[in-house]
Symmetry: D2
Subunit: 238 residues, 4 copies
Amino acid sequence: MKIGRQSHTTTSISTANAEAIIVRGRDLCQELVGHYGFTDYIWLLITGQPPSSAQRRMLDATLVAIAEHGLVPSVQASRMTLAAAPEAFQGAVAAGILGCGSVILGAADEERKAIAGYGHPLHKGEDPRASKLLEIAREEANDGAHIEIALIVQRLLPEIIGKPLVLNVSGAIPAVLLDAGFPILALKGIPILARTAGLIGHLLEEQLRPVGFVLSHAAARAVTYEGPVPDGFRADDR
Amino acid sequence: MKIGRQSHTTTSISTANAEAIIVRGRDLCQELVGHYGFTDYIWLLITGQPPSSAQRRMLDATLVAIAEHGLVPSVQASRMTLAAAPEAFQGAVAAGILGCGSVILGAADEERKAIAGYGHPLHKGEDPRASKLLEIAREEANDGAHIEIALIVQRLLPEIIGKPLVLNVSGAIPAVLLDAGFPILALKGIPILARTAGLIGHLLEEQLRPVGFVLSHAAARAVTYEGPVPDGFRADDR
Amino acid sequence: MKIGRQSHTTTSISTANAEAIIVRGRDLCQELVGHYGFTDYIWLLITGQPPSSAQRRMLDATLVAIAEHGLVPSVQASRMTLAAAPEAFQGAVAAGILGCGSVILGAADEERKAIAGYGHPLHKGEDPRASKLLEIAREEANDGAHIEIALIVQRLLPEIIGKPLVLNVSGAIPAVLLDAGFPILALKGIPILARTAGLIGHLLEEQLRPVGFVLSHAAARAVTYEGPVPDGFRADDR
Amino acid sequence: MKIGRQSHTTTSISTANAEAIIVRGRDLCQELVGHYGFTDYIWLLITGQPPSSAQRRMLDATLVAIAEHGLVPSVQASRMTLAAAPEAFQGAVAAGILGCGSVILGAADEERKAIAGYGHPLHKGEDPRASKLLEIAREEANDGAHIEIALIVQRLLPEIIGKPLVLNVSGAIPAVLLDAGFPILALKGIPILARTAGLIGHLLEEQLRPVGFVLSHAAARAVTYEGPVPDGFRADDR
């Protein structure tokens, strides 16, 4: 059964024969391993071209800015998953990545719909990561239309929604990367890649000093059962 | 319900207040963003210390060596998943990561049990990535006991299993990273992190020039139904 | 850090003490295990109430209709994942489930945007599963406004898009289940639950008579590398 | 590149033409939808044969026994994932399934290695689900060698490890299903399938009365940062 009609039958990322692996037109073992840093290679893999030094610095800065922010929900999900399924490190990483969705680093708010990219539950005055990314973009003369729009929105928000909301790191990353020429359809990959690095640190710690079940025990105690019970049933003290 | 007894209730990776995010004892926005490359930050996140220049070069080399090798099964699973669920980029990455298991880059073999870390279905003479990683380790004076053991095993294999099998990239990476002081319990994270970069390149290409259903259509044609059918049923020509 | 404001702190699904597990107000071991079929229990878990006999029959019919349709992309992704990571059965199931997204059973079409719930690449005349589900709904006097709307859309489509497209199984399932009183926010769970059953069958077969790498080998041959190569590089015959 | 050598190129689960879908030799729309309950179909999909009434009752009983046990770690991971990525219901289910690993329902214990299938952190006297499953097996005259072995182990444990540990539900399920003729290589699918049903209930509740961030907030408070901080850094009161 053919699902969907697709007219493309090519890839332009890599090929190989018995002697050599070619990635983006370069010989992996002759030109890349040992010569390219990982950041350069990420840019090459995604865009097909090596980065300029400003592009490399912006990509490094965004990946470093977003890789780690403590025991956020996706890290908890990952550590709990490793605790329950220690045989599958890759499963625990996958569980963590699955939380890198539209509410990541969340400005979600039940009562008022959040403005994606603006505001932060902890960093209310300013998100220091966003400010730093904009500063680096200016240093690298890498600030263009996307950053400008992001700042215009920030300036207009108090008028529109009746309160100030500062640009957060999730709003700053697309702005600085798009101004650096990074492809828009790969933007969702940036927090995923960065967080994967953070997750590995957490999963190493989880193996050495496990807290996965401590987390889930505390979490379960925060929620009460509210529903019918059979006659005579008495909840345990937990 | 408390599952498992865990005596640890601490993490030493990061903390934050309203003004600053601290990672491994350093102020994220003052000391890390803009100053650390992603590779340095990965090493810091995982080990708690910045890398030496030899450690950085080995980590870069291993990540570059393993990030991309064409339309391998995990990449196909990822691209098919994006084709079927385009709303969830993170789900497609997760599907790709879930294939980073014990047979990754596979030397699996139905009839004869493979020796993990040795032999490769395509690179039979030598795995050029393995050779390159060992060469870099020697250049960096970073070759120690783990590399030595890996090479001793390679030398003894013909005698033990009756045929030569060369060290492959999956065998070389643990050897060079352990000799560089990388923690053994985080080794499984290296191919996952590297492949995540490769997957982003493929998922960008999948959005621009989709082949996910082309892949699955060709795959389905390679397998025939062999089982009972009701009277009168005639298979379509596919 | 508190991400998002959430005012609820209760669950009404289950509770337990050392002697008994209570689910939806019933004692699991006294009232449910041995007395409830799985379908009844699914309905109880999701809605809080046991199903009527018409509701049970509709839920059974939809789950049976959608559980299996051969080597579709999500099944291939799952079987390839088990081939690469045989240590994690749950990872292979998860990879399969991640393809249960918005293009599942796909009527995706590159050139023309598909109408979700209508048309099918293989079953062009009618989708026999959709017809059967509507027939059962009528038998059970379970046909209401949602089925009516689905059929009205089918009748109007030729006029709107210039060609007939019949209701497919992905369109019929919401219609019959909503008419049966199933909660709309749990509808996405139905294909996932059904497919999980199908995936277990495939993953058993994959262990007994593996084709995961056969699938990926054939798939890879369907796509050609089109891009630069270094001087002197010659692709292998594959 | 051909990874792994696989000699099989057939599947015996299903096939289709434009008019009919055949599953395990039966016409899906003529013989199965509307006639088979989901449990019967699960058994057929996995084993190739419809179940006897004793087999159906055992499969129903095991699925009902294990589908739901409150806010266990995998349910928390799933609800947190939906909170962070509400666009991908399938991703939240996948995250929950990834925790269905070797420590599921955990009898993990840091200090003493647990005996898989015996003992339970909450149900210390007996696991009422295990007892019920054995009772049903006896009622259905479905008790054979596997149940016998499970009980012999339970009887010998006090002598071997110096304390009694009762058979838990994770130990009882393989015993009763293997005695019923269920294939051993599909056993891992049973908790996954059952839990998927439970997860759908939780993910519906999560959409109606979200607690995902309540869970993660409470969990994060249970773990303290213990590591260096820059001069002058003061943790917030959380």
